[in-house]
Symmetry: D2
Subunit: 281 residues, 4 copies
């Protein structure tokens, strides 16, 4: 399992190069970013330079986010495909093997028909990503307040997300498991045991406040080790089923203004060291 970071929880991570340098400096092995950022980077310094930069700092691109707008009208979806394909091409050339998106637990569209459209759109994305040797990760989202933020309930459990993955029916689609969303949907990490490890393509970690689960807010997350989620159990579970990908921090939260980026890197780095020591990885 690789130690990974995203910019969520690290304040302003600077340019992609600064992000990579710091990730390396603080002991991480992969960074998540946007495809758009990678495209700009490669257009600026060239593909070979970018590849060399990653090699020099021994950092992998863990995942890029899905840039196509799949949650709204047909027209917007279609319009986004050509830049998406460019991002996949560049990310793949940089060694990135994953693109991911999250599924909000409610929607303003009648949910059954929206699901049908989502299946088709996701399949198109999966087929394109497959040409670039990339997997496609779908993340279920647990916080209860988001289930009523839009008009109709959609899906939020791991089991429903597996139903969606089966409906898409392509071999490169899998689950993005986020500790916060497991916690807020009441998923016992032991359930991962029954899962074919091949279904898990990425993992996010973070922590939750000690308040009733139904009151836990999506953008009020804690750093690993600060809260009530048993991350040691999660990581041991993933290890035992043979997961070999990234364990990437994603702390969506309001960062106090007096926190310097460096402090956040140190904090994150320490949290990872403490956590990984307990699983003897």
């Amino acid at each position: 399992m690789l130690k990974g970071v995203s910019n969520a929880g690290l304040g302003d991570v600077g340019t992609i190069e600064e992000f990579i340098v710091n990730a390396s400096k603080y002991g991480f092995e992969s960074v998540d970013t946007s495809g758009n950022e990678l495209v700009h980077w490669v257009e600026e310094i060239g593909l070979e330079e970018a590849q060399a930069f990653l090699r020099k700092y021994n950092i992998q691109i863990g995942a890029i986010g899905l840039s196509v707008e799949w949650r709204r009208e047909e027209e917007e979806f279609k319009t986004g495909l050509s830049s998406f394909i460019r991002e996949a091409e560049v990310a793949s050339a940089l060694g990135c093997r994953l693109c991911a998106t999250y599924i909000l637990p409610s929607t303003d569209y009648p949910p059954a028909a929206f699901m049908a459209r989502a299946v088709r759109r996701f399949r198109t994305c999966a087929v394109i990503l497959n040409e670039y040797d990339m997997k496609f990760g779908l993340e279920f989202v647990g916080p209860h307040h988001l289930r009523t933020t839009w008009k109709y309930p959609f899906i939020w459990t791991m089991s429903e997300t597996i139903d969606l993955i089966e409906a898409i029916g392509k071999s490169n689609v899998g689950l993005l498991i986020d500790a916060y969303h497991c916690y807020t949907t009441g998923l016992d990490f032991a359930e991962l045991n029954q899962l074919d490890v091949k279904k898990i393509v990425h993992v996010h970690i973070n922590d939750a406040k000690s308040i009733p689960v139904s009151e836990v807010l999506d953008h009020d997350r804690l750093y690993p080790g600060e809260g009530v989620i048993n991350l040691v159990k999660l990581l041991k579970q993933l290890q035992s089923i043979g997961y070999q990908g990234s364990i990437t921090q994603e702390v969506l939260t309001q960062i106090p203004e007096d926190q310097e980026s460096e402090q956040l890197w140190v904090k994150t780095s320490n949290a990872y060291d403490a956590l990984f020591k307990q699983i003897e990885c």
Copy 2:
């Protein structure tokens, strides 16, 4: 376009052979039945005899219903697949090129996840049917009362059904257009004009009482020509876009006890003659 009948609206049609004999006698060209009935028939008299019987009376099997239980638990779905495949095999050998099912407009399952499962299950059915050179027809169901019969709204419009067909993503899946469901979902037949005719795999006709559309009941249908649906416009529309399949009567209704089957055949036959004369087919 072929004149077709189902048993809905004809009372007790008797054995499959009696059904075929009468369909022929009263001027029809195709009959819809169940796959199970065809399997029993072929087991009884043999495939070649059954084929010869259909040839003798110049009747095609227009469609069989989908026997697999796709609306409930996984276990039931799986259990039904082996007899379904046997039905497809026999129906196909008898020249039947279509299997169809209807989609109820509400469900007791959370609708988004149910849609995901339906997509996967329908795709499995479509892939199997394709091996037997059969298409798979999906019928949207319009009556308003059915939208609240079960816990959650599902889908009921043609456009949503096309979304579902696209999510399934197989080439042999298409629409079953039913006049009653067009009427109760407010579909203007002119909209069929914008449809790729290849998407239409079967057509049901029937008629509706002159009451507010929202009060029209699914099991209270009239015979073609008795009600307010402009069937001439529907058939002309289908003709103009090149539809060449069956126009099959399906009148779900409470038949008065004093109605003999023969009277119903005569009534249906007359209705078809009147209707088809107007479209000069």
Copy 3:
């Protein structure tokens, strides 16, 4: 059925606008061109202007060719996808509903593995085209000399092409029927009768010299009516099964230097008039 032209057989057709103006002037209803040309056109004059131009001359874009290199190495295929998607986007916005490619009857790659890669690549193209409401046409190529031009025989019959289409398994993929290739593969037009018309997405016409079929050369075609192919029978057959798309001239041939483009337009126009008169279209 629409009267269509491609540039093959018309010498230098000039700019896309000149091509459209002449097509209109000489009685045609659709033109085939390249996606790349459409992209340049739209970049030059804008989408709305281009749409208006087509409307003004009452011309449709019948088909664009597939620009992605699917016949060689993986790397080339991937590299071409992003411009292909841009072409599909523009062509679709201009009302074009078809992209097509031809399948050479021999290949330098071991044929079984090459077929497997072709299936995957074509499916990716089909899935992308489907998002832009476009079909994908595959044209089998008959001339005997091409069967040994490259190292291994590949496929060249309609029936093998249908096998390929079934292997791709997407609903928007169909056959491009070319009179010359039917003739050189010994296909009796009557066989089209058994074909689901939905499988035919485009038609090319042209004619063949009165020499032994095995000696007919791919780039030595005649204009419709000049040779031995029974085009009237072909068109009547297509009409009878309900084909409603374009009948597009594609005459791959060495055009004598003294032939002016205008003469070629006149010749083509006369040939179409003579032909369509015989089928009373």
Copy 4:
């Protein structure tokens, strides 16, 4: 990794129950058999009894063979589907999660079109197996003499088999890696390192005589440890990429008449003990 046996190399293994009892007695954890044998067994003693029997002896069904005839005419393929689905249903209920078939390296059909049909047929099998939570394994076959046994070369390398798997495009299809076929196709086990472990669904072991590779015969295999294949390297390689499935003996060979089944079990058991000791599994 589980120690597994098939009947190939064990002479007459007796009934399925005797096979299971001996597998358990000699230290194995899984047995491969035919779906047909499982169906008969369950029809005889009932599903629950059969499940209990497997539990009692702590044996899993590692894989069943694909019974559908996919290598010949369409009609045969279709005819076999209904018993295949019954076998999948029963095997799955007994906990079996894999069905596998082998791909002969030559064929009497023109290879490109045969590949197209194979892709479609395999996809149908994969879709059916997926409903029963089973994977579908494809085994490439290496011995050189088989490349000319039938009229045309087909495919025989791992890389071509991956092309085929990608053409099928379903998530439950993977590779069956057989030591003998790796050896006879010159595959360096180190190449497995670059493989996504998720692509490997089953492993066969056996050994090869010390003769030129091109003379190695398919039905003249040795027992693990008796020949020149570096099985320790293979197993270490599989272990390092996280393979967790069965390592199943498949020794296709002429067994001398004086060899008792018990001797063969002892020999196999000893060979496995020696082998697994070296990888400290």
